[in-house]
Point group: D2
Chain length 348, copies 4
């Protein structure tokens, strides 16, 4: 029997991307799609790409019908999922939040960066951080998953093999990251107009970005030690794609000759369906993952300078959001992890 | 048993798009991919989006092994397919040419516009013009299909209901068309550099374009009378997408009140899986069909002016090339016509 | 002595473009720049390109100081200029409105399309339509100029020679026009986000657009007869540029051989500093006028079809708005018409 | 009397940009523009933005007439200028090379990175590195200037104040740089097609790039010690613009409280006409310098991490090439340094 799936807040980009990916998923049916401001409107009138695939109107998110779903995705702004999750879990509905409400273990850290008081801090311990490459088994058993941020996914996957190698300086890592503009969402906003963001490039939030503590939390847990990194996000004049350029210092006294980067990465991810280590010396392009759930990585040791440079790309809306959420759903509902996610990227 | 498929000339954009679409087709296997200039190279080293999907090297196109295929696509420049088709047909291999070698019935017209002598003019009569919305039954029985051009697909589908209504002036049609730059191919060329074609827009070939006689041929056959149109192509600074803006004159003396455009179009295409008539008053966006085999159409009768305006959009690489070719393959090999082609467009 | 210039509503794109062009004008000084919502803010904090060029804060538009200016530009939404113009004119301040308040002679037509009651209809007779190629002498003497719309400028300049030749059908003209997205302004709006409008193309307002009656008014006045045209605007995924593709029918019985298009256009515009007829057979690119006040035009008579096709390009923010406004200011203040406007376009 | 200027190799982007900037320079006349492959062609037929500004045909670069020029720009590929410079200097013609032939002091380093033998190594000592912010007085007296590379200009200007402060670790600097695609030139090339480079982003030459040793040479000379940096270039899907994100480590034991970054930068560049330190906390956008000779910089000390981050933007074709060359020409010919270079950037 098909599992029933609900999506709360499906008018943003992660919402429509969930709908695109789930539209052809053979084991689920989308029964409920909500949008407070579009109740009664056909979903495909907002998103014509879904014509013929999604035959639903937007509903009110407060409806009891949500609880009939086997699993509900929250594709809402930060602070929304935490208000409805407790009730849903009690009725046996599983929850994946694509925002940050359930990504942090430390509620104070979350409050500091998100400027809100958490309404159900008790759930933070239970919530599983939805990066399957780290938490696959926990996700399978989870009722509640906090889906990772887009930057954190690209950066964490790019750094994990080195972090866990024990051979790098955990206090001297730099993540210079660049994101396509869909990461800024579908809100009306002057700064993300084509006339403003097109044909231009800039850094932003250099002095502090919410994804910074999320990355440090994940890497610290993964390494067993505190990890400190610099994190500098930039805005790309493209719609989809994140590129992380990661600078890592090998520990002094480390026998660098022993660290074969290419093998380290290939072995580490040998069994991962959605992490692809490119041939040695490659420069992954964001377009090589456009529309796909793949993360492509290439580690380098440049001729000059003492640092390792790792290049990591994802589609911010897929592996960085909706695709990873579907991957988590597959795990949580006992499906093959790759169901509905195995399509080549769109190139050109 | 899986059908064996070959692709000749798979280093261009229609080639890689065929590979993307066929990679997940459940009823075929790609056994042979050729490129004269890349023999021995892995296909996915040129097109990293195919990593994990296509495990082949490029072969030499002159190999006898092509004849082992059940069907061969030619994604080659004009004038190549005609050199190999006769031999392949004799061994029982079906052929779909994505170039223009088998699109024309009048060999002299072809020679005039393509500047070559046809090497197998006898096959032109047998060849079926691969627009399923017109020639579905013939395609099912065909050994040889000439896959339509990108502009002709968008323009023909946009005009067909009116052409066949008998109520318009067949000598006074204007097709103002705009194409994404992938239509110009993957050849090194100054004029299609990002620095040249980006952030700009222009008409080209206003004095005559090869797709003009192709459209006139199709529309004339469809209407039973000679159709004359103006055809003005333009170059869009986007990668994928064609938009046709079509101006049609209702015949004098015609009772215009009787021509309900919206119903005419909806009824005409009611059973077509890949033609979608948008709700009345819509303006189809090219992005609504990006990566998809859909053609979306909206007919208008503006407040001012006496003409009907029809808006028609396709993805030039899908319904305008590789997707339509797969649709034709499905018909020729007896599969469900929509196999491997039912995915929502990528939006945003 | 330097003339004093004020700009009301300088936070939109036509406003910042006026500032860019006037920043190096040797005969004027900008004394007053207003923005209701940014009073007290430095102008160059919004527009960093002006750092070092404009040392002013935004003021309140209702200030009496406006009347100290020799000339005031209104770069405001429709309906604002008409509220302040009468007072300014009385104090001897000249006015150029970049919106539509003073473009129409027929106040009812204006009200119908702009959905407002005009507050000073008496001024419409005095106001001069600011297209120097038609109204140069009147502009020189004018106190009040209605600066033309962007589409009307590109279309009118493209059609004028044929309209005045007396040899075309004035009731059968089609203007298929395409505009860069800065024409939609600097308002926060979902539909003009990079994620929405980028990598896509669409028509809009096919059923009726405000620039349609403006064009018909100008062409009717220029020809002495009523002109009817179809007008179809489209949205380009570029920041600057308008391309008009104009289809014109030569009158039946007209000796077409006598109409040498290239000479007609070259002679007509021989003395115009900002209209450039390209060599025969050219396809003007919008980038060839980016940042410049030039309109480049190429008339064609295609091999097939009976119509003339005229291609016309401008930068919508320059010749289509701020540049033309400066050209008008130069005429109104007795300067050389080209002052501060003679810079090559930015290419690439 | 007007100085006579020649441009060798004016069909590339730095060539046409020189022509754009020089077209309105009041103190020079362009007498000679060469292109081996376009002899006899009008310059403005290749670059229509120059119509009305440059009334010349391309000449053969080997003509003796070059020697009649007061100054010749070489906008040619690497290895061309060195073949003609010696002869020109002997006849009293000054030379500015926009390629790398005269940027290096160490001829072996040059040969290693550029893969050629230098034909006039003796001139390397005389040649002045044309970064006015470092070498203004030497440039004024120079006969021969090696115009800096685009990345080196953005990186060097961004690092100079810190390098010369004596308070940073000269062996631990990272330059993560991003360039618009016009930096790759106007050669026909698959990888820079709009269809390939558009809507994508990637690093390139991570293992070693020619601008790396150029930057290290300049910074080492400026600091008096050897400087080592990591240098990672990336390709932006925009036409113009470079953004450098620079990571600098304050020296251990340094009293960081004493290093007021904002004041350090503002004071260092207080008298520079083409370096603009933005208000504290700014994020410079590449579009804020599009078409302009300005470099805009903002130094940051992020909340987390121990490093200083400096953001630096230029237009790669202006301050990164042609504009800086004109600035150097102004100095070499005794003009005001800013002549023909004081225009606000084009925004939007």
């Amino acid at each position: 029997m098909m599992k029933k799936i609900g999506i709360v807040g499906a008018t943003g980009y992660t919402g429509v991307e969930l709908l695109r990916l789930l539209a052809t998923h053979p084991l689920i049916e989308i029964t409920f799609v909500t949008s407070r401001s579009n109740v009664g409107t056909r979903v495909d009138s907002l998103f014509p790409n879904l014509r013929g695939f999604i035959d639903l109107n937007f509903s009110n998110p407060n409806s009891d019908e949500l609880a009939d779903c086997d699993l509900v995705f929250f594709a809402t702004p930060n602070g929304i999922a935490m208000q409805q999750t407790e009730v849903l879990l009690k009725t046996g509905t599983k929850v994946i939040d694509l925002a940050a409400d359930f990504r942090f273990k430390d509620v104070d850290l979350w409050s500091k960066w998100y400027g809100m008081t958490h309404t159900c801090p008790d759930l933070l311990e239970e919530a599983v951080y939805g990066l399957p490459e780290i938490n696959r088994e926990a996700i399978k058993k989870a009722r509640l998953v906090g889906n990772p941020g887009c930057y954190p996914t690209a950066v964490t996957l790019g750094l994990l093999p080195l972090i866990q190698s024990g051979k790098i300086d955990l206090n001297d890592i730099i993540a210079d990251t660049k994101s396509g503009i869909s990461g800024a969402g579908r809100q009306a906003n002057v700064s993300t107009l084509l006339s403003e963001a097109g044909e231009s490039f800039k850094a932003y939030a250099v002095d502090g970005h919410r994804h910074h503590p999320e990355i440090e939390q994940t890497l610290s847990l993964a390494s067993g030690s505190t990890v400190n990194l610099m994190f500098t996000p930039h805005l790309l004049p493209i719609i989809r794609g994140i590129h992380a350029t990661l600078y890592v210092n090998e520990r002094e006294g480390n026998d660098t000759a022993s660290l074969d980067l290419q093998s380290l990465y290939e072995n580490f991810y040998a069994n991962e369906p959605f992490v692809d280590i490119l041939p040695q010396g490659s420069h992954p392009e964001t377009r090589s993952v456009k529309s796909s759930n793949m993360c492509r990585i290439s580690p380098h040791r440049p001729r000059t300078g003492s640092r390792i440079v790792v290049l990591s790309v994802i589609d911010n809306l897929v592996k960085g959001a909706a695709g990873q959420a579907v991957q988590n759903m597959n795990l949580m509902l006992g499906f093959d992890e790759t169901t509905a996610l195995m399509q080549p990227a769109l190139l050109p």
